[in-house]
Point group: C2
Chain length 205, copies 2
Amino acid sequence: MIHYPNGKPYKPAESTKTKSARKKKDFSFSNRGKTLEDELNETNTYYLIHQIAIVHKKPVPVQIVKVEYPSRSAAVIREAYFRTPSTTDYNGVWNGYYIDFEAKETESKTSFPLKNIHEHQVAHMKDVTDQKGIAFTIVRFSSLNRYFVLPFSVLHEAWLAMLDGGRKSIPLSIFETKTIEIKTGFNPRIDYITAINKMITNKEY
Amino acid sequence: MIHYPNGKPYKPAESTKTKSARKKKDFSFSNRGKTLEDELNETNTYYLIHQIAIVHKKPVPVQIVKVEYPSRSAAVIREAYFRTPSTTDYNGVWNGYYIDFEAKETESKTSFPLKNIHEHQVAHMKDVTDQKGIAFTIVRFSSLNRYFVLPFSVLHEAWLAMLDGGRKSIPLSIFETKTIEIKTGFNPRIDYITAINKMITNKEY
């Protein structure tokens, strides 16, 4: 044990930073400290291993400007920039269906702000739907620890209403009545395929 | 015009580099100097604009290690590494079908070497096929200026034969009898969707 010159044992002070970090940890304990992306990656790995569905997250698009090739080691990208994705983040195939989705989190307890969705993503999901693919958004209400599959049809309706001067968010009540809530579990963590199955059965997409 | 001190006009020397670049240009004139990737990007843009199919090339996966955030300008990636893709390069949806493919070129005039395909891509295409998606490889015989849709079933058969000690390439004759040749045109440049349509009609995938 480390001792101060005055003989007292060293005990780290509770700095603001420490408190903030602890608070964060406490908060996220309810959803096991994982981001929605982590949870979906785990779920997709589970689906892949069990041959339930083949879904991958797309890599982050970057514009590569400069690459170095050091001898005897891997090429190093030394200058690159983030590009705006032209599609959603996830797509794949399940039982003959093309599935395509975006994943979004909100801290709000009452509604999902539409500013979380970009116009080009809406355009992409519309294109997918027109080609008979299944497009949706997985929305996590982080403070409530609730997850929903928001079918594109419901998002599109809210989107068009917003463009028409209507509200800029989708209230929780719409999620509770017009979308499919995902049951979370240990494995798969976020069983969205079961939710999609319900959605297809009810022709809600 | 720039003049040398001796009064003669400046004329750049034909360096080896220049000759090599010219040679490259001459060679590629037959396929308009474009890579297969360029041609597929054009084709996919055509399909997108005309709402024929929604297919995108996946971004190159990179592992980002260091990012700088200069004030008032875009974030710059200063250290990143190329990762091995876990899937094929292209996927999307066409008329309710999930389509998933890799694009490969060969200079050979007689066969397509299987070393162009990675084991994890074969595994991915098998997974896709098992989920009732349509997996294939677009192969360009660059020297012949011929393009084929190689259904996964045909690739898989050749792959398994190779693992069993058989030949390490697929001969052109197999392409001519068991795959679908793509008619190239101005727009779309490489109409692989028409080829896929034939493939589905003939249940060849």
